[in-house]
Amino acid sequence: MTLDGGRVDAALGGGLALAGCHEIYGPGGTALALMLALAAPRAGPILWLADARQDDGRIHGAGLAELGGDPGRLWLVQAGGALPMLRAAAEAQRCAALACVVIEAGAASAVDLTVTRRLQLAAAASGLFTLLLRAGPSRPSAALTRWQARAAPSRRLAADAPGPPRLALTLERQRGGPADLTLELEWDRDRRRFIPAAAFAERAIPIGAAFGRSAAHIGALPAVAARRTPRPARAAA
């Protein structure tokens, strides 16, 4: 799967390997995992395995729809412990009808080198895209790649409004390949793919007059629609 269509893809050997296990940590981890799962070419449900404890809130269906995904594709499994979660992951990795498995391991100490190797082998054997979300970078791992995901400042839209989501990624580790690469990606919700942020750098954003934003979801409150800051549509890509 291509990320930036250039330098990083070349370093990864032609894009992110779908038949493998990739590790993600950092404050933008949830977003990156969801975006990668949505960008993956396979259809089918996305299985999201989580420990019971969620101190960063729960996944919001409307937010996932706003990322361009169908929230009905996301199947949440609350395993209630690291070991049941890993067993469920092993079970899920054998199912070829899934699009992607995301394992939200957090700081679980049970996820060690052996476990990541097992995940990686299972992912390579079944060809199932596997993402491992972790709390920090410190633990050893046998995953194909390790990414740090942070939110990056977005493009400014009119009236100083924040633009589409942008992530600053660092490829910290890659098995058998170059690492320590950084890139900034913007999520294109409509095409469900990443656009390298560098592609926008040379383009100025014209302040247009067209009001593209729909106020349908607050249609029940017309007075509010009138108060919203009008904002022109983004320049055509």
């Binding site: 949830t30 089918g44 937010g63 361009g68 996301l74 949440l76 499994v77 400042p153 409004a161 409509d190």
Partner: protein, 492 residues
């Protein structure tokens, strides 16, 4: 068949630790201690339930006393009832001390009524319980015969008809001593003098009309079981037996064109304990290989692993819930269909983790964000339709939502203006870009008082690049003088 275990509370205590005899079990009643149950030795000395402990001490100075635990006795009776399903599926506990087993059509499986009774009594004795038994055509009659040790219904004492003291006194004053004498009287006269309840009790004892038991466990139509003369003690042996039983059930299900939704495996240990393992499937299922894997998952996930002890001598598989199941169509290119694979995955995860742990996002028709999207158990939910976002716009709903929203401290230039800086989780974030407000009113039509504060949502980006969803709770000056701020969600 009825079993009466008169010394159950005392014998239950003796199972765990040898008890000194004679033993009485007492409970507080209006400030004094009253005997609730006794052991056989104490009963032989004339102590009986209802006697005050002080009176009992006067009769028998050396009596030992222990507290009475009715809940534990009821649990023990249920445990015995589960074990008794080895003789017949229709078993009911008759508190406080009785068990009812419907043995119609079952006795020949054990070599006749006599050897069935011998088996029951031996097994109970091995567990440390002494029981009186009786066989009769109705449950009430069998229970009364077992309780009072009579051989004929007509010989039963009046206590079998009514527990109430006044009724018994009234019957005695009329010169009646046995149930047979009451039954000989004209029915109208009995009803007029002693009440309808007595007549109903009399009918229950004497009539042979069927009186259905209320079985403790649901009785399944499809059952397969295997007895072992030599108890099996290893998990592998259980698995082999289970596989055979699954195949037999699958044949029965296939002949009816049905699939099971619930499979209950009961492992009867030689010492009377029964281990129950249940597996539920999302779709009707009769594939033995798939079901065996589900049972494997379930057994692997048990909190207390199977403890065969001295071994299982009876393994029974029942299918209490069935549904019609059509023959499945295989994919044209071979292999399983994706839906089948996914349904099996859900079943396996459900067998391991529990059915409610697998959830799907559902949408509700409301503007309040925390109520608009929630997760439901997979089985209970159908996929809901989600609105398509307008193209070319940034997301206006967060990926992660806090429920409840997290209170934050916010600095704004004017009380109803956009936030400039906020403090969340002990860190200060400077707002570099914002959009809003998106005003979401409280659902006044759902509230009795019609009140509720309006929320002004702001999509803000902080200096670190992270995007947050904040709201001000209450309109400044119109609804509240000092609106509070909350962080409701995180964008990418």
């Amino acid at each position: 068949m009825a079993l009466c275990l008169p010394w159950l509370p005392a014998e239950r205590r003796a199972r765990h630790a040898p008890q000194p005899e004679p033993l009485v079990l007492v409970a507080n009643e209006r400030g004094r201690q009253v005997i609730r149950a006794t052991c056989a030795a104490a009963a032989a000395e004339g102590l009986h339930p209802g006697l005050a402990l002080a009176d009992a001490r006067a009769v028998l100075p050396g009596v030992r006393v222990a507290p009475h635990d009715p809940a534990g006795d009821a649990a023990c009776l249920d445990w015995l009832a589960d074990g008794a399903t080895r003789w017949s599926p229709m078993v009911a506990a008759a508190p406080p001390h009785g068990l009812l087993i419907d043995i119609s059509g079952c006795a020949h499986l054990f070599g006749g009524e006599a050897s069935l009774i011998a088996d029951v009594i031996t097994r109970l004795e091995r567990l440390g319980f002494s029981a009186r038994h009786a066989i009769a055509s109705t449950p009430a009659a069998a229970m009364a015969l077992a309780r009072f040790g009579a051989t004929r219904v007509a010989d039963l004492p009046l206590a079998a008809l009514s527990e109430l003291e006044p009724v018994q006194i009234a019957l005695r004053r009329a010169g009646l001593k046995r149930v047979g004498e009451v039954a000989a009287l004209p029915r109208a006269a009995v009803a007029a003098r002693f009440g309808e309840a007595l007549l109903a009790a009399l009918d229950a004892l004497t009539e042979s009309a069927p009186q259905p038991l209320d079985p403790r466990l649901p009785v399944a139509e499809i059952v397969a079981q295997q007895r072992f003369p030599q108890p099996i003690a290893t998990t592998d042996a259980v698995r082999v037996a289970l596989e055979k039983l699954l195949l037999r059930c699958a044949v029965q299900l296939g002949a009816r064109g049905q699939g099971g939704r619930l499979f209950a495996l009961a492992l009867y240990r030689a010492d009377g304990h029964v281990a129950q393992i249940r597996v539920e499937t999302a779709e009707p299922q009769r594939d033995a290989a798939v079901l065996l894997r589900l049972f494997d998952e379930r057994i692997a996930a048990l909190n207390d692993p199977l403890d065969p002890g001295f071994g299982y001598d009876l393994v029974r598989l029942a299918v209490p819930v069935t549904q019609p199941q059509d023959e499945t169509q295989l994919g044209l290119e071979g292999g399983q269909l994706a839906e089948t694979q996914l349904a099996e995955l859900v079943d396996r995860l459900a067998a391991r983790l529990g059915r409610s742990r697998i959830r799907r996002l559902a949408r509700a028709d409301t503007h309040i964000p925390e109520k608009a999207s929630f997760d439901l158990p997979f089985a209970a939910s159908a996929p809901s339709a989600w609105p398509t976002p307008a193209p070319g716009e940034p997301p206006d709903r967060p990926i992660r939502l806090f429920d409840p929203p997290q209170p934050i401290e916010v600095l704004a230039e004017v009380p109803d203006g956009p936030p400039r800086r906020f403090r969340w989780r002990a860190r200060v974030h400077d707002v570099t870009a914002h959009e809003g407000p998106e005003r979401i009113a409280a659902e006044w039509w759902r509230r009795k008082d019609g009140a509720g504060l309006t929320r002004d949502y702001w999509r803000v980006e902080a200096a670190d690049g992270r995007r947050y969803w904040l709201f001000r709770h209450g309109l400044y000056d119109r609804e509240t003088g000092a609106p509070r701020w909350y962080l409701h969600g995180l964008f990418a």
